[in-house]
Each structure stands twice: as structure tokens, then as C-alpha cells.
């Protein structure tokens, strides 16, 4: 418990750092937003007005203070593009993102684990090498290609799935609209995951305790699926946790192309439109989520591995 409190305290300097970084990027390096907002036809008066309403005519430390206040209250103002409240945007977009992400995470992890275990057990065999080469090639194809091709062949040509879109109810979304996006996501995630998990399994298979288990007369199946798996689950679980924040933002390509109204798609739109408040807010929110998830990953690690002492 003390550990959790201490870690929460450690969030503060990191969060401050993120705030500083975001501020530096957007308020300093970023172009004068007034020009962006004013649009193509602008006169100096309009620009001055916009500047004043945004507060960018103030000295930097005042701007920073405003930003810090925004972070603290969770109110980042309104989107420059749609005038929707930024916090509102997030509340509504989180659901769809999760509807795709959670099934993706679960399915890809289970499949990758099973495949990696088998491949590690048959290490050196033809199956092992074929699958590993397949993974290497699979990883070298850009996710863009997977999205485009899958969309074109499976949805457009064959009509098995809707090309894009989103529905009204959870059931409809899960089964119909999320299916192809999840499929694409799983295929993309499998290759690197299988390679990584294979190395985890190999590390464990070479350990002395496996020899002891065999010396006790246990069947190979039990040795692999109980003894080895339980040990390999530790790095696998932490790896899955660490991937989550990346997935949140990384699924943006999938969301963009399948027109899924999730956070990722918002981000891309915001970047295309130079919608600074949205981008800033996303960055801050995701940073906070990452820190919380890292803490959760450490706690999970402790729960799984009795040797770990959290100080």
C-alpha cells in the first residue's frame, strides 16, 4: 500500500515533465495558432481578437499557468475545429475505442502465447523456422498495407464484412463493425508478439527447474503447460500491460480507415486540422493513463512473481 502511494507521488514530476514538454511543443514551437484558426481570409483585427481569446498574447509563464490549470481541472476548452468541448469529445470516444481494443488484446495475446509455446518447444524444427520466417516477413509489411488490403479484399470484394462504419448498439458493434478491425489488429500484432513470447518461453525452457521436473517423472505436457507457462506468464503479462497505452494511440490508423469514432481517429483528425487543444489533451490523458497502467503492471508483476519485493 505504501508502495502505491509512493508511486502515485512519483507521477507528479513525470506529469509535470509531460506538461512542460507539451507546452513547449505547442505553445512555443508550434506556429501562431491565430493564423490557423483565422482561416484563409483573415485581417489583422480578426487575428488579434483570436489571439486575445486564446490567451496567446500573454507572456509565456501566464500561458503555462493557464495550461496547468486546465490539466488540473480536466477542462481543456473547446476544439478549434468543431467547437465541441474537449472533455466531451473524450467521454464519447472512449467506448468505441475499447470495443475494438479489448477483444483485440485478448485474442492476440492468447493466440500468440499458444503459438509461441509450441514454436519454442519445437525449437530448431522446420515448423519453428517456417513460422519465424513468416513472422519476420509479416512484420515487414506496413500496417497500412494490411488495412488497405484486408479492407479491399474481405470487405469490398468479398463482402464478408462492412467496409467501414459504426453502429448503435454494443452487440451490433462488437459482432459486425468491430470484427474486421479486430481481425486486422490481431494479424498485425501476432508477428512481433510470437517472436517476443518465443524468447520468453525459450528462456524458461532452458532453466534447471525444468530438468528437475522431468527428473521427478512428470509428463512433458505438465512440465510445459504448468511449470514453464507459469514462469513465462510473468514477462508476458507485463508486456501486455505495457502495450496497452501504445494500443490506445496506435489503433488510430485502424479507427481512421474503418471510420470508428474512437480516440485514435480523433487524434488523427486533430493533427490534420492542427487542432491543438485536442492534441494537447490527448497527450496529457494518455500520459496519465500510461503511468497508471505502468503502476498496475508492476502490481501485477508482484502478484505473479513471489520473488519480487516492491520497496
Amino acid at each position: 500500500m505504501k508502495y502505491v502511494v509512493r508511486r502515485l507521488w512519483q507521477f507528479v514530476p513525470t506529469l509535470l515533465g509531460v506538461v512542460l514538454l507539451v507546452f513547449f511543443l505547442f505553445n512555443w514551437v508550434g506556429g501562431d495558432p491565430a493564423y490557423i484558426l483565422a482561416g484563409k481570409i483573415a485581417n489583422p483585427e480578426l487575428i488579434e481578437n483570436i489571439r486575445r481569446s486564446l490567451g496567446v498574447d500573454q507572456p509565456y509563464w501566464v500561458q503555462l499557468w493557464i495550461f496547468v490549470r486546465q490539466v488540473a481541472t480536466g477542462d481543456f476548452g473547446v476544439s478549434w475545429a468543431t467547437n465541441e468541448r474537449v472533455s466531451q469529445i473524450f467521454a464519447t470516444r472512449l467506448g468505441p475505442s475499447l470495443t475494438v481494443l479489448l477483444p483485440l488484446l485478448i485474442i492476440s495475446t492468447l493466440l500468440a502465447m499458444a503459438a509461441a509455446m509450441l514454436v519454442a518447444y519445437w525449437r530448431g524444427s522446420l515448423t519453428d523456422r517456417a513460422i519465424m520466417i513468416g513472422c519476420t516477413v509479416g512484420q515487414s509489411i506496413s500496417i497500412l498495407v494490411y488495412i488497405l488490403v484486408f479492407q479491399y479484399v474481405l470487405a469490398y470484394q468479398l463482402g464478408w464484412f462492412p467496409v467501414q462504419g459504426w453502429g448503435g448498439t454494443l452487440g451490433e458493434n462488437l459482432l459486425r463493425y468491430a470484427a474486421l478491425p479486430v481481425l486486422v489488429g490481431v494479424v498485425v500484432a501476432l508477428a512481433p508478439d510470437i517472436r517476443l513470447y518465443r524468447s520468453f518461453f525459450l528462456d524458461e525452457i532452458n532453466q534447471d527447474y525444468v530438468r528437475t521436473a522431468r527428473a521427478k517423472g512428470l509428463a512433458e505436457g505438465r512440465v510445459m503447460w504448468l511449470h514453464v507457462l507459469r514462469n513465462a506468464a510473468i514477462p508476458i503479462a507485463t508486456n501486455v500491460m505495457i502495450q496497452i497505452p501504445g494500443l490506445l494511440a496506435g489503433a488510430f490508423l485502424i479507427e481512421r480507415f474503418f471510420s470508428i469514432p474512437g480516440i485514435g481517429r480523433e487524434v488523427i483528425l486533430a493533427v490534420e486540422r492542427s487542432d491543438f487543444p485536442v492534441i494537447k489533451a490527448v497527450t496529457i490523458y494518455v500520459a496519465i493513463a500510461t503511468m497508471i497502467i505502468n503502476l498496475a503492471a508492476d502490481l501485477l508483476y508482484k502478484a505473479l512473481d513471489p520473488r519480487v519485493e516492491l520497496e
Partner: protein
């Protein structure tokens, strides 16, 4: 009645023949010791009995047990034997136990697998076993994880797991090598006791000859994949016929004598002369430590050590793991900053670091870690010279390096080679040469020969002694091996839990130890 018969066993890994053609029998109710140095093939022989070798191993010959050839038995039948009729315990108990399951669970697995006991019955049996192997608080230990137990306790758990199903044959592969001396004795006694009481047969594998006499009736000596000699302990130890066996027996520094030179496997000439050790009391003091102390966080690793080292003499430092002896060595060389006390070089405390480093050098234990793997031998030897500005140019430094190599018995061509091309013993020679490069007055030998085979140890101890005779260097000789320390040291300090509990001349301390810990230590030495 022969329980297990091995006939012409051969094991190969790719090109390498780890075991060439080994044949021996293990009778019922008897203990056979399988002895050899590293690389002799003893562990591989043992692992092949239960079929625990990696898949890449090729095997020939026969292993006959209960009328079947184990090398031809299908894996299902073999599994039924493993842990039930033939069990095995290994050298490193910590890594041989699964870290994420409790020890009770792991012992219980063997019971449930072979005897089909229910949870309740298994639990009772496990507690009995724990008591039998001498684990205190068995109920508490049941739920503990391996990392929560000491090395000795872990090994007891392994033993419990192995004897759980009342095997006829127990294979023990170096079960005590990774343990402290005092714990070693306890585990050995336990194993011997169990063997007697349960009338098991045992195949006991070790590199340490002194253990054999206490535990086995038959002994087999192996070298490089072949059996050199086998027979009863009395025969083999009393009147060895094979040269190698004789050499092995002779290489260990004996506790009752101190030959002027230790015989090595190569030189079978026994030195009849004795070397005298001890201090007269009037030698110059090179180094003095006053109240040296070191604290790590909450642990006091060294609690106020004071001693003097005389010129050209050796001060031995004995202790088990965790006693603080290595830390003390590092304090003396100023590689760790002391939390208290001081080190005086020739009576002066504040010697500038460079001078201090020239005068006091160190040779570390692990020959595989103390040389920079990316430096050629020449670079390692000339580096200290370069730092201290010895020698006018590279050429001069290189010729000095060649001289150093000659002193430690290595050819000049070694200059261009890399550490991984040398054996452990040769690497230690290079480390010694590096320590010599600056012409030090005191060399700290921190377990410098402990990681080496017995015959190589003897060579290096002879080398160290020759160098001391030639250069009048002093040594602070740190080791856990009492026999080696007695051989090398003029004065001996015994350390426990950070304190020096006894310090005396080396003859006196072995003849008449005063402190109870010293007495326990000496009593633990197998003879």
C-alpha cells in the same frame, strides 16, 4: 547383486565426445562415488541414466536396470521410473527448484504423480519428509517459496523431493559444492544417514576427493570421458594404480604437512622438504589496517578490523560466504571507500591514490570476469603502464609485458590473443601478470584459486609462492578453503559476520584453535 549396470556408455554432443566408453556397476544398498575434475564427463554419465540429456546428445551402449536397457526404454516407462525408483538431486538447489511454486507443492507433485495420494495424505507425507530431512518448522516451510529458504534448506527440500517415493537409487550430482563448508557437512551427514536407513543405493558425484572417504564404499575416477580407475575406496585411495589418480590424491594441500612445493598432475615429484611459515616479529610492516569498517545501508559488512601485513609474508583471511572477507579485501585496496577506520601504507595514511594503486594490487576470484574481454592480453598488461606513465613508448611497454608473461609462465605470443582463448588457469596467470605490472608491494588474492580445478590450483599456488620468493611481495590471501590457506599463509585471521574472531600464526591456529567458530570450521573439513 547389481542394481544398475552401465556397459560401454558413450555420449556425444556434435563433434565432442563427452563420455567415451564407460562401464561400471552399482550394487544394491551401496554407495558409489564418481570422481573427476570439470569436463571429465561425470555429470553427463549421471544425466544419461535418467535420460535427462538435451535432445542433441547422441548415446551409445547400454544402461541395464531391472532387466531393461534404459537407453532403449520408451519415454512413458522412463517417466514412471524417474522420481519413483531412481531419483536425482542437483548441484544448484536454488535454480533447480521452480521459483513460482511453493516447496510443499513441488514435493507434493512427486507424491501425487507416482503414488496417487490425495491432497490430505500428500500433505501429511510431506511434513513427515520435511522432518526426516531436518527442516525446522515443517508446517511453515510447506508454503514457502524457494527464494525464502537458505541454500542448505533448499537442498534439504530437493532431497525430500527425491526420496519421497522411496527410490532404490539416488543420484546426487555435486549436492554440496554450492554450499558453505559447515552446511556441506550437515547435508553430507544427512545423505549418508538416509542412505543407511532406507537402504538405498547412491551414485555420488563430486570433484572433491576428500568427501569420498566419508560417504562411499566404491570409487570411480574419471578423466576426459574415460574411467581411469575403479575399486573400493580403501584400494584406490590407499594404493592407487593409475597415474592420474595418484596425482589427484597428491595435489591437495595436506593438513598435516606443508611441502615446499605442491605436486601437480604434471610433476609427480613429491617434495620431501617442508616450508617453514610464521613471523619472527621483526619484519617491516608494509600495510596496517586500523579499525576498518564498512557499512552498506543497514548492514555492517565489516566491523572494525585491525591487522598488520609484514614485508614478504602472507596474511591469510578465512571465512565462509557472507563473512565480509571479500569486502575487507576491497577496503584494503581502497576499491571500496571505508565507512570507518584507516589503511596505512608504510605508516602513512594519506597516500595519493596513484601511488597507493601502484603499491597495492588485487587478483580476483573469477578468471572469466576479471579480464576485459575486448582487450587483447597485451592491452590488458600495458594499460596499467600507460596510465602510470611507465615505459617511454608502446614498444618498451610491450617488451615489459612480454617479460611479465614469461614470469607467469606464458609465451610471448599470448600478447596478441584474447582472454576467451585461454583456460581459467591461464587467465588467472594473466591477471597475476597484470597485478605485477606496476611492481606492487602487496597483492590481495581474493579467492584467486578457488574457481580452479585442484591440479591447476596447485600450479598457481606454486607460481604465487615463486613470485613472493623472488620479489619479496606480501599477500593478503583470502579464501574459504582452510587447507589452501594453511599452506600459503604465515599468519591467519578467521572472520565471521564482519568480525575477526581469531588471529594467530598458521601452525598454531590449526593445531590449537581458541575461538569456538574456528573450531567448528576446522571440524568441518573432511579428511
Amino acid at each position: 547383486m547389481s542394481l544398475l549396470s552401465i556397459r560401454n556408455l558413450g555420449v556425444g554432443f556434435g563433434q565432442v565426445e563427452a563420455v567415451k566408453s564407460v562401464s561400471f556397476d552399482i550394487s544394491e544398498h551401496s554407495t558409489v562415488a564418481l570422481v573427476g575434475e570439470s569436463g571429465s564427463g561425470k555429470s553427463v554419465t549421471a544425466l544419461s541414466i535418467l535420460g535427462l540429456l538435451p535432445e542433441t546428445a547422441t548415446r551409445r551402449g547400454e544402461i541395464l536396470y531391472g532387466g531393461k536397457d534404459l537407453l532403449q526404454t520408451p519415454s512413458r516407462e522412463l517417466r514412471a521410473l524417474r522420481g519413483a525408483e531412481i531419483s536425482m538431486i542437483f548441484q544448484e538447489p536454488m535454480s533447480s527448484l521452480n521459483p513460482v511454486f511453493s516447496v510443499g507443492f513441488q514435493v507434493g507433485e512427486a507424491l501425487r504423480e507416482h503414488l496417487g495420494l490425495s491432497r490430505g495424505e500428500a500433505r501429511r507425507r510431506i511434513l513427515e519428509l520435511f522432518r526426516e530431512v531436518g527442516l525446522s518448522d515443517p508446517e511453515v516451510k510447506l508454503g514457502r517459496y524457494p527464494f525464502q529458504l537458505s541454500g542448505g534448506e533448499q537442498q534439504r527440500v530437493m532431497i525430500a523431493m527425491a526420496i519421497a517415493c522411496e527410490p532404490k537409487l539416488l543420484i546426487a550430482d555435486e549436492p554440496t559444492s554450492a554450499l558453505d563448508v559447515t552446511v556441506q557437512k550437515q547435508i553430507l551427514d544427512l545423505i549418508a544417514d538416509l542412505q543407511r536407513r532406507r537402504r538405498m543405493s547412491m551414485l555420488f558425484i563430486t570433484h572433491d576427493l576428500s568427501l569420498v572417504g566419508t560417504i562411499a564404499e566404491q570409487v570411480i575416477v574419471m578423466r576426459q570421458g574415460e574411467i581411469r580407475e575403479q575399486g573400493s575406496v580403501a584400494e584406490v585411495f590407499g594404493a592407487p594404480r593409475d597415474d592420474y589418480t595418484r596425482a589427484l590424491l597428491a595435489c591437495r594441500p595436506p593438513l598435516d604437512r606443508r611441502p615446499a612445493r605442491l605436486p601437480t598432475v604434471e610433476s609427480l615429484v613429491h617434495a620431501k622438504e617442508e616450508r617453514k611459515r610464521g613471523l619472527r616479529g621483526d619484519e617491516t610492516v608494509v600495510l596496517e589496517a586500523r579499525g576498518l569498517a564498512k557499512r552498506f545501508d543497514r548492514v555492517q559488512a565489516v566491523k572494525g578490523a585491525s591487522f598488520k601485513v609484514a614485508r614478504g609474508k602472507t596474511l591469510g583471511l578465512v571465512g565462509e560466504s557472507g563473512s565480509g572477507k571479500t569486502t575487507l579485501g576491497l577496503l584494503v585496496t581502497r576499491l571500496h571507500a571505508a565507512s570507518g577506520g584507516s589503511v596505512l601504507l608504510h605508516g602513512r595514511e594519506a597516500a595519493p591514490p596513484k601511488d597507493f594503486k601502484r603499491a597495492i594490487q588485487i587478483v580476483f576470484q573469477n578468471p572469466y570476469a576479471s579480464l576485459n574481454p575486448r582487450f587483447s592480453v597485451g592491452q590488458s598488461l600495458t594499460e596499467p603502464m600507460r596510465i602510470h606513465g611507465i615505459g617511454r613508448d608502446e614498444a618498451e611497454r610491450r617488451s615489459r609485458a612480454e617479460e611479465l608473461l614469461a614470469k607467469v609462465g606464458l609465451p610471448g605470443s599470448a600478447l596478441f590473443k584474447y582472454p576467451h582463448e585461454f583456460s581459467g588457469g591461464q587467465r588467472q596467470r594473466i591477471a597475476i601478470a597484470r597485478a605485477l605490472a606496476l611492481g606492487p608491494e602487496l597483492v590481495v588474492c581474493d579467492e584467486a584459486v578457488s574457481a580452479l580445478d585442484v591440479s591447476i590450483q596447485a600450479q598457481l599456488l606454486n607460481l604465487l609462492q615463486d613470485l613472493q620468493d623472488e620479489y619479496a611481495m606480501s599477500y593478503l590471501f583470502i579464501s574459504h578453503d582452510l587447507a589452501v590457506v594453511k599452506y600459503m599463509a604465515d599468519e591467519v585471521m578467521v572472520m565471521k559476520d564482519g568480525e575477526i574472531v581469531e588471529m594467530a600464526g598458521s601452525d598454531e591456529i590449526y593445531a590449537d584453535p581458541k575461538h569456538p567458530y574456528t573450531r567448528t570450521l576446522l571440524a568441518s573439513i573432511p579428511r
